[in-house]
């Protein structure tokens, strides 16, 4: 990881008490600012109205199957890692209307979603793995021949304020997936939190336009050094890792490994892992009609390869067993995603480990299939 700034300009310094001014600046430009807030004992993403909505002074404690908030000794705004939400829910909404149909004298009048009414979001507090996850979904939803209008319109408008991690959870393994912890590309602005404020890197023209309005001074060498040390804590603090060498062939080549049967005995097929994963993209479309079926909405909803009827076809289900569904999920995520999109579908955020009710850890499953543990 380089110590220099990946941004275009010299890094600036944003004093802690002016963080709210950055939120206001974005709001004044018409952005709906979304960021971390505490809801039901977890840090999730929701609309930010003021700087006081941020989880200042809180951190998250995570382990397989465990998530808990705790007070920090200091007053850091971004002193946590990642929670159950990801930005996916704003770019690829859990429920969206892809088309509407209205019955007329001349037949059905069907109108496809065009994304014209897409909200303009500013995401406030994106982690490096989350920037990577958005890039992964870009390749899914914006392809050469077809682009999803809902995703693309939201994506084109969105402003990304990244915040570098300054600590790692035991569930994190972004370093081994090459997606973090340092934010290097894909942001408009990237902040690193230090004692009295933030070092701000500028990712491009759009970010520069916003930040110049705050009239900030350049970051001092001391601030730059503190920021670098803070970021290093996140890198050095990572204990988990995913052995990616030869991983694609390992999983594709082992569809009948006994470990699939073993993990299926623990997995509840609850879909939690796919819901919290920032890259999982599966969905289904449902017809929602009024009583006399003259107004119809085609409603796309998140689905999961762990759902029994996901592979329904011709009156039967292809993936009948939990074994086949867990195998599909893990093999797709870590192996066939490479065939499809030229990269892994996993960014190493650790959410699926934390939010699995039975503590299934994909890094341990891979190790078992590799034969590293018995």
């Amino acid at each position: 990881m380089t110590s220099g700034s990946p941004g275009l300009d010299q890094p600036l310094f944003l004093p802690r008490e002016r963080l709210g001014a950055l939120i206001s600046e974005l709001q004044s430009r018409g952005y709906i600012v979304v960021g971390p807030v505490i809801r039901q004992a977890a840090i999730v993403y929701d609309e930010l109205y003021t700087v006081d909505d941020l989880p200042r002074g809180w951190t998250d404690l995570q382990e397989a199957g465990t998530y808990r908030l705790e007070r920090r000794a200091d007053e850091q705004y971004f002193g946590y890692v990642v929670g159950p939400h990801s930005w996916k829910q704003f770019l690829f909404p859990p429920v969206a209307t892809v088309a509407t149909a209205v019955a007329t004298e001349a037949g059905w009048n069907v109108t496809a979603a065009d994304g014209r009414d897409a909200p303009q979001f500013a995401f406030f507090g994106m982690r490096a793995c989350e920037l990577a996850a958005v890039a992964v979904q870009d390749r899914v939803f914006i392809q050469k021949d077809y682009a999803d209008p809902i995703y693309k319109a939201r994506r084109d408008k969105a402003f990304f304020v990244a915040v570098n991690c300054t600590q790692a959870a035991p569930t994190c393994f972004c370093a081994s997936m090459n997606t973090g912890p340092r934010c290097t590309v894909g942001f408009d602005l990237a902040l690193t939190e230090i004692d009295d404020g933030f070092v701000v890197e500028i990712g491009g023209e759009r970010g520069r336009n916003v930040i110049v309005a705050l009239g900030l001074a350049a970051a001092t060498n001391d601030a730059l050094r503190d920021a670098e040390a803070a970021r290093r804590r996140a890198a050095d603090g990572q204990t988990r890792s995913m052995p990616t060498e030869g991983l694609r062939d390992l999983l594709v080549g082992n569809p009948n490994h006994p470990r699939w049967t073993e993990v299926a005995e623990r997995c509840l097929s609850c879909t939690n892992c796919t819901q919290v994963c920032p890259t999982c993209f599966c969905s289904s479309v449902r017809e929602v009609t009024d009583l006399d079926v003259r107004q119809v909405e085609r409603r796309r909803e998140w689905d999961s390869c762990f759902n029994f009827d996901f592979s329904y076809m011709n009156g039967g289900v292809v993936r009948n067993s939990v074994r086949s569904r867990y195998r599909q999920w893990l093999t797709h995520k870590l192996a066939t995603w490479h065939d499809q999109f030229g990269e892994s579908g996993c960014v190493g955020c650790g959410r699926c480990i934390t939010w699995c009710p039975v503590e299934i850890d994909l890094t341990a499953e891979v190790a078992a299939i590799r034969g590293d543990v018995s």
Partner: protein, 284 residues
């Protein structure tokens, strides 16, 4: 720099179509002639053998259906459909003049035009002849560019031979047709047995100069491929058309994955060598 690359399309855009004719085929199967309501769409739409459309019946849902032919005079696209569930039942109830929506075409094509001079063997099971029919027609239209053209067809019973009324005309145009049924009935003088037996018995066969295109139930295609390999064809000379649950048809919904492939956009027509390992894994 490429200034001409068109922007990506909206996959959810549908076009209004009218049912201009319904031809009952066998029990539970009919061919629907669908014509675009908008003359501009009518002029612009085209597809290649093997591709499919998503037929949308508002309030009911969508179903993937292969194009089974083109009525040039009537400017209508043919879809041969077995009544299965909600969408296909509603389609069957529409009748001539009925209105629905269509998006497409999607997917890959039968590679008939890529093998000039080759012998072509079509192997179909049941309604699997419908997605093959445009490729058969294309091959017969371009017979001078191809070698021997054969159709091996397996049906459950004599009464379920699809497009039987067309077979004589196809024979007149040079198609060798061999039909077998699983269960015979008193009037049936033809063969009885599974379609793979027709592959075993196929004479003459020049394996190095033959491509085999098959469509039917997945198990049938697996056995057909095995029989063809036994006859000396290589896996790259065999093509299959696969089917999975599809919600979007462009690789966004995730449902149709089989191994590394999205059946909707990487298929439905695949070279067998690419899919063989995945087709032979249980519950994949």
């Amino acid at each position: 720099m490429n200034f001409s690359a068109p922007p990506p399309l909206n996959p959810w855009t549908t076009h209004s179509v009218e049912v201009v004719d319904v031809v009952p085929e066998i029990l539970g199967v009919a061919t629907y002639q669908l014509r675009f309501t908008d003359p501009l769409v009518r002029a612009a739409y085209s597809c290649v053998p093997g591709q499919f459309n998503m037929l949308y019946l508002p309030g009911v849902g969508e179903a993937a259906v292969s194009v089974s032919g083109h009525d040039v005079a009537g400017d209508a696209w043919l879809h041969t459909v077995r009544t299965a569930g909600g969408v296909t039942q509603t389609l069957a109830g529409l009748g001539i003049g009925g209105n629905l929506a269509l998006r497409g075409p999607f997917g890959t094509s039968w590679p008939v035009e890529r093998f000039p001079g080759s012998d072509i063997v079509f192997v179909a099971g049941g309604i699997g002849l419908a997605p093959l029919r445009p490729a058969v027609e294309w091959a017969l239209d371009h017979g001078d560019r191809l070698g021997r053209i054969t159709l091996l067809y397996g049906a459950r019973s004599p009464g379920t031979v699809l497009f039987a009324s067309q077979f004589d005309a196809w024979r007149d145009r040079g198609l060798c047709i061999d039909v077998t049924v699983d269960r015979s009935d008193p009037g049936w003088l033809g063969r009885v047995g599974v379609v793979t037996l027709l592959v075993d018995r196929l004479r003459p066969l020049a394996p190095e100069n033959t491509i085999l295109l098959t469509c039917g139930p997945e198990v049938m295609m697996r056995y057909v491929a095995r029989a063809a390999l036994d006859r000396g064809l290589s896996a790259e000379q065999i093509w299959v058309s696969l089917e999975r649950n599809m919600q979007c048809a462009v690789g966004f919904c995730g449902h149709c994955q089989l191994g590394p492939a999205f059946i909707c956009k990487d298929g439905p027509v695949f070279p067998y060598d690419r899919m063989a390992p995945y087709l032979n894994t249980e519950d994949l």
